[in-house]
Symmetry: C2
């Protein structure tokens, strides 16, 4: 395969009609070939029209066929081989192993949804049978199932060129739900996006899917992004990025004649609480784990541990010393693009200039002086000072964290209380002290989507129990997760069929249960046929 | 019991500090005693503070105890006896049987959620066990469950003084989820609201619930309603009413520093499609059923059939004749209040003055000349004319419907295509013609929450399979239903626990499965203990 700089929609590859641009290698700041075409508004609208046209036929395709399509997407992505991982490294500055890991995760994710489709998990089929003789009024026959919500616009993410981009979690869950996907590739890794789109295009052909089921569009946010969110046939949006970016999309979506949900996963500082006994018994190991988590991928993770909270003690000083030693071994890392790198430097400057904030430890300074590189930092402040300044609660995306030193448990709890919603919250403690302070778990469970004990928040497992989301601004709707099987619930809605003749019902709700589903029949789970 | 005109919050009854007002008997337009106190902003804030304070302790109360509380609420509502149903008739103009029916529905609803809590249905507990030896990275232990979202503001509804008001579906589902409820009573039926609040207050005492778990607040929309929606501790809103009212609340909720979901159930004309063979074989019976559904409760139902769509034919004329005869027997009905009555008259005037709209049949004119009464109407227009005028697609709340006569099937489908989202869509047809036109089912399933065959949309069954909701503007979020067991999903969000010691986990996720739940363990449903 090669990268042609083209767009894909309605089953064809198209030259972009709104000019071209080049991706940039962030390790050198040099342009990458080839020039990539940008979609015009008319091209985006054509893609939306194709998605709309095929929306119903795709939703009606049996789940087993949709599952095979998802598996074929995975197969075709794997078939891209080294070209894909090489391009990822060029476009992101990530080491090759990261691309390989992300590919495994992406393909595993597609197959996980396929398996769940085969198991019939998402239908939530329910049947309440008629009681014609009931008084004072007869009870009708009612049947309920989840259905596809309609075309979904997916915004590829800067920091996950595969797992949360063109064929990432949002795309996989929307396709699993039976929703056509309009994927806006990310300007930082358009070549990676195009390669993945080529794989999906092949899978569409092999599995004979309707042509409007998937589009790959590149271009400017204002033109491509806004057109997608405002298009009447689009029924939901998946986005991961900054609070400003997410908020802008939510505003557009709410201003539509028919408002639609935007599942935006935005800012989080992912507080890590170090309890005294844990520090006493384990400070060096915790410091080692913390620095590894903080600097992984040059700190460019939504669940990067950007806030550490602890009580003043000699052991905390020991922890700081250990972090200092560990960070001293960490070279300045490549960041994904110039904007992210600049934004990181600005955030650092803002924080270090804030009242009462000191720098406690640093990674190695940039010695390459080429491309976009970031030095890791641990800053520090007091609990009192943190509580007083909202501005230093913000996320600085990159390998920087703030250590908040509290004078006692009361102040530690006050620090937690002032935090906004978070993706994750972490507690380090011995079992005894965790139990003694179980109220902290309650506070965290109210603020975050995932509570971690004696670990670090990076490494988001893709499985049924994962929650990647949390109260605003961590995500725009904390009732849903963006990772794991439950992510599909974002793109479905229930429909009830009343008094339908059996022949007219969808298969999932027919009396003889042709799909072999476990259904809630008159309130009790059953996989039997009716009558 | 008596009605004292007081507010209830933080476990006490309070005199309203923002003046008083009197409810009005809509059948006479005369004031009802006693004078009812209105809540001041400070009183609303005190109620919110109590709800916030007790939010965590209520959420942690075992599901079985919450279930008993819901059952006690039902018992205490029943214990109000005739005083309640008499007051409903006084405040709404509904006949006594309607009050009795609604009481049965309300108490049945509370008990349905109690039973579902006992069955552990809503927890959606999931466990993925650790794989410490997995390569390249170990898999952590992850456990997922649904939890209460926090305090919920519930707006009582004009047309369901019990079933969708102070202890109605929104309140029952929020309490079932473990969320404190701040109920804003409806100005049309404050005495009914206070009686129900007295029943809940008694249940709180008997079941020793935290005092902040329920508040009953009366007062002006601007003051009480807006204060509730803007209060930081409030995490969701339940509302049923007009598109304008719902949209205003949604705007307020979106403008908060932390936006929250508003579950607004708003406008719907509930199209009823009459296919030719059904009319040929059954026109008089369909007309009879239609008029009964149209004029039930003086047409004051969200699912009132306000739009009939059919193809021109002699049988359609027969249907119109039959409707004319049936409507001639329907006396002008009492409407809930002056605003609704005026709004109905204005809507009728707007429609009858629209180009190409004629009056086809009328109910009896008002002969009482007292209170707020409405005459029923069937208006008519052509498919072409309907498609051309958005203004006549709107809901006119009350006993009026529009018959759209199409020249053929193509035009009938075009009429369906221009409709906005709806709560329900109904098809009358023989099985043969339904199968021949199954594409109509597909169109309706995309537009509505519930598709009815050979029946009428009124009579919303409260059961697991019900969907009461639909694409905008029928409801603000079509992924949820406001009626039935799934309504609880609006007030929960998932939390994931990673690497937790067993002792620190919530009971639902503990290894030995002390609640006996069916849990998704490593992807497979199981009610067994772990290890």
């Amino acid at each position: 395969m090669s990268i042609f700089g083209k767009l894909y929609f309605d089953g064809e590859w198209h030259q972009g009609q709104a000019g071209t641009y080049n991706a940039v290698d962030p390790s050198t700041a040099k342009n990458l070939e080839p020039a990539m075409g940008k979609a015009s508004k008319a091209q985006v609208e054509a893609a939306v029209a194709a998605a709309h046209r095929d929306s119903l036929s795709f939703a009606k395709i049996p789940a087993a066929k949709r599952a095979n399509f998802l598996r074929e997407c995975a197969t075709q992505i794997e078939a891209l081989g080294d070209e894909l991982t090489t391009r990822i490294t060029l476009e992101t500055g990530y080491p090759k192993g990261r691309g390989e890991g992300e590919r495994a995760r992406t393909c595993g994710q597609l197959r996980m949804f396929a398996n769940s489709l085969d198991a019939g998990e998402f239908v939530d089929a329910r049947i309440d049978t008629a009681q014609p003789d009931r008084t004072p009024v007869p009870k009708p026959d009612l049947r309920f199932m989840q259905q596809a919500i309609g075309p979904v616009a997916v915004f590829a993410v800067s920091n996950f060129p595969l797992a949360y981009s063109v064929a990432g979690g949002d795309t996989a869950s929307a396709l699993a739900a039976g929703c056509p996907v309009l994927a806006k590739g990310h300007l930082s890794h358009p070549g990676t996006g195009e390669l993945v789109a080529q794989a999906i295009a092949k899978a569409i052909e092999i599995c004979q899917m309707p042509k409007g089921v998937f589009s790959f569009l590149m271009g400017d946010d204002a033109e491509v992004g806004a057109t997608l969110v405002q298009a009447a046939p689009v029924k939901a949006v998946g986005f991961t990025g900054s609070i400003a970016g997410g908020t802008a999309l939510i505003k557009l979506a709410n201003a539509r004649p028919e408002p639609i949900p935007v599942f935006a996963e935005m800012g989080s500082v992912n507080p890590v609480i170090l309890l005294p006994e844990a520090l006493k018994t384990n400070a060096p190991a915790i410091a080692k784990g913390f620095v590894a988590s903080l600097t992984l991928g040059t700190g460019q993770f939504c669940v990067n541990p950007g806030l550490v909270i602890a009580i003043d003690s000699p052991e905390l000083n020991e922890f700081i010393q250990a972090v200092r030693a560990e960070l001293g071994n960490v070279a300045a890392g490549v960041m994904l693009n110039q904007r992210i790198c600049t934004s990181y430097q600005q955030g650092l400057t803002r924080f270090t200039h804030a009242s009462g904030v000191a720098s406690l430890a640093q990674g190695q300074a940039d010695s390459v002086n080429e491309g976009f590189r970031a030095q890791a930092y641990l800053l520090g402040t007091s609990g009192k000072n943190f509580i007083a300044q909202d501005a230093i609660h913000e996320e600085v995306f990159g390998p920087a964290a703030m250590l908040v030193t509290c004078k006692d448990f009361t102040e530690l709890q006050q620090v937690l209380e002032v935090l906004a919603g978070q993706l994750t919250g972490t507690l380090h403690g011995t079992e005894t002290e965790l139990l003694a302070h179980s109220a902290l778990v309650d506070v965290l469970a109210r603020k975050v989507g995932r509570v971690v004990v004696n670990g670090f928040p990076t490494g988001v497992e893709v499985c049924p129990s994962m929650v990647h989301g949390g109260p605003f601004p961590a995500s725009s709707d904390p009732r849903f997760t963006a990772v794991g099987t439950a992510a599909i619930q974002r793109f479905q809605r229930p429909v009830c069929y009343q008094n339908f003749p059996d022949t007219l019902l969808p298969d999932a709700l027919k009396n003889n249960n042709p799909l072999g589903l476990t259904r809630l029949v008159n309130g009790t789970p059953s996989n039997a046929a009716l009558e």
